[in-house]
């Protein structure tokens, strides 16, 4: 069983991301269930999704402490869901910060040190996928960079990933998405 926990901020496109991973897993022959939290998701609140893939999946929910991967689309959100990971869990993070209101209003400090410590404790790969994606042409491909990072940790044929991404992203953005995927893939593969 492979359990993937995704978390981020409403509006970051988690539903599209979990949709791509689940379809890739299905085509790779796994039984799959996902669980997307949908509600006030477009208004900057915290959002998360679960993907579970294996021989037979019953519940779409990951039990806390049993996630193999934590895909953090924002550092604080990754930190918030850290306990979802098992001891060997891997963190794949977009470290572009989106400040919550309490930090903006100077009522709370952004927990940067705790996040750093978390990244040191687990096998972690963190890069500013938002900045990288802006360099590629559009900040919306940040999640594709994270997908590439995940792909390099899963043994699923690259072609399946590419086919599914091709079907789900706008045609004109395909090239950019391919580049983003490779960027993330290589980042993890090369360990930096």
């Amino acid at each position: 069983m492979i359990n993937i926990m995704i978390c981020g901020v409403g509006g970051q496109g988690l539903v599209l991301t979990s949709g791509i991973i689940s379809e890739v897993a299905r085509r790779a022959g796994y039984d799959v269930k996902t669980n997307d939290v949908i509600g006030l998701s477009q208004r900057g609140g915290r959002v998360w999704a679960n993907i579970r893939m294996g021989e037979k999946v019953y519940s779409p929910n990951i039990i806390p402490g049993e996630a193999d991967f934590l895909l953090a689309m924002e550092p604080l959100e990754g930190f918030r869901y850290k306990n979802m990971l098992n001891n060997q869990g891997v963190i794949l993070m977009n470290n572009k910060i989106i400040y919550p209101s309490d930090v903006v209003f100077e009522k709370a400090d952004y927990p940067s040190e705790a996040i750093e410590k978390m990244l040191e404790t687990y096998e972690s790969y963190a890069l500013n996928a938002t900045d990288e994606s802006v360099k590629l042409g559009n900040k919306m491909v940040a999640n594709t960079i994270i997908l590439g990072m995940l792909a390099s940790k899963l043994s699923i044929d690259d072609k399946i990933w590419m086919d599914v991404i091709q079907e789900r992203v706008p045609k004109k953005a395909l090239d950019m998405n391919k580049k983003a995927f490779t960027l993330g893939f290589d980042y993890v593969k090369n360990g930096s």
């Binding site: 901020v9 409403g10 509006g11 979990s18 949709g19 689940s22 379809e23 299905r26 039984d31 799959v32 269930k33 996902t34 669980n35 997307d36 939290v37 949908i38 509600g39 006030l40 477009q42 208004r43 900057g44 609140g45 915290r46 998360w48 999946v57 019953y58 519940s59 779409p60 929910n61 039990i63 806390p64 604080l76 959100e77 930190f79 918030r80 869901y81 850290k82 306990n83 979802m84 989106i98 400040y99 919550p100 209101s101 309490d102 930090v103 903006v104 209003f105 100077e106 709370a108 400090d109 952004y110 927990p111 705790a114 938002t130 802006v134 900040k139």
Partner: protein, 597 residues
Amino acid sequence: MKQDILTGNEAIARGFYEAGGKIATSYPGSPTVQIIEACKAYEGVYAEFSTNEKVALEVAIGGSFAGVRSMVSMKHVGMNIAADPLMTFTETPTNGGFVLITGDDPGLKSSQNEQDNRLFAKFANMPILDPSDAQEAKDFTKAAFELSETFETPVMIRITSRLCHARSILNLGEREENAKSVFVKDDKYCMIPPNSNKAQFFMKERLEKLADYNEENTFNVLEEHGNETLIITSGLVYNHLKELNLKLDVLKLGMIYPLPKKYLTELSKNYKRLIVIEEMMPFLEHELILMGIPCEGKKFFSFTGELDSQLIYNGLLEAGLVTGQKKSNNMTLETVNRLPLFCAGCPHRPIFDILKKSKAKMVIGDIGCYSLGVLSPTEISHSIISMGASVGITKGIKKAMGLGQPDEPIVSLIGDGTFFHSGIPGFINLLHQQKDFENMTFLILDNRTTAMTGGQHNGGSGTFNNNDDLHIDIKSLLETIGFKRVIEVDQYDYKKTKQIIDEEIAFNGISIVIAKGQCALKYKVKKTPYYVDPEVCIGCRTCIKTNCPPLKMKQYDGIAKLKSSIDEDMCVGCGICAQVCPVGAIKLVTERNEVKS
């Protein structure tokens, strides 16, 4: 066999399509919004988001009368609005198959209450199917149409928010063409006494036949491992239970109302204990007790919220069926919270900023994105009850003030979606027994879409959106009703809007202000972004208080004091921060570039 991976919502739409369904209606509400959006993609289907759930149900009744398979879907609270036609329609023999989808929301993830609509089905004398994954959501939808036509009954499919949005793999089938003839004119469709008296007997017999049918266990599955305790459950809860990999005897019910009394009575004799696991109300538990079958349930499992694998395990632990430690179902650790906030460029932002600074002592809110007005840092709305309720409530408060309660300025909020859904009758009622000098200010936040559920059309969205066909002008409509003081404002002109709203709050009578700013998300507003000139900024945080995502205090190089800053990627250029800035420190980035070059 062709497979796909779909959400529960998409699977229902697929089942409707495969069953030859033709009319699908709804009103957008989380968690069932996606059903109609998925139905619209299928050939040979007429799908609409109707004005409200009552109208949606009525359109589907029409489809059924005309002999075609029809489906209405709604958020759980939508049933309250649709209840009037439902409670009488169910007295008539269903012609074309009729399926009602209710999206219940255990845990209230996006709802104002947690009502358990299984009670509604019992109330309406109709059967309920309760799917546990996407495959069953599709299969049960198809089966529901068969049941509906065989037993001449509307059928409820009850799905919960988690399953609505959970994806799983399912096998796809072909569409079957399926239409009956138009209903034959008959007293059975004319619900006046004595026809409706006879209908009571028809419904009673229908339920008895359905219970007999459920004895065949077409939808129910028994798993036996030779234990002394039998677990009875249904829906997604079954899969959470299976996840625990316990060798328990489990009866998974697919048709959860009416229950097969003979089968359950006989089965219960094989066990020392029966334990029911169900979310929210003890519905199955009560049904079993009414049948004289002793069972336990809610003493081990919460009456509210979702039951996930961990909570199920903890309940079983309490019941003595498993041993070990309680499991935690806490997904998060304690850290800085992240509350939702209005999007960058949201037209509600200036309105709430103005209200916060205004003399309005009481602000009656309604359902929509502007529900966020309750939360920090806005904290301006004093009540939220149900769709369109703000208008009637405001009148009641004002009448009470006229009868001796302390009189103070009152502002009522309503969005365009809510206005068209059920706000209009409240406005008509305002003019009944109206007295002079009753000061009420109504703010209609007309962003030209039903925004909170993802930007669906409504009665007025055609003005902005070429794909929408309704262009109702709210101002003209209100003037036709008889309101004299209806003012439109563009809230992106902050100062002028503030002046008008302040004047109208002070005006001693009924006034209506329609704020015309469009939803920045739906209409993808992206204009030239702004930046903060730290040399001019005095660090007063007036802009920060508008709580716009791109704004944050920042430590600039060489400047000791914190100054405001704008994330230009996130800024959509609405200009509200620049207008509230007392020193003109916020400017268009094009102005900075000019300085640079």
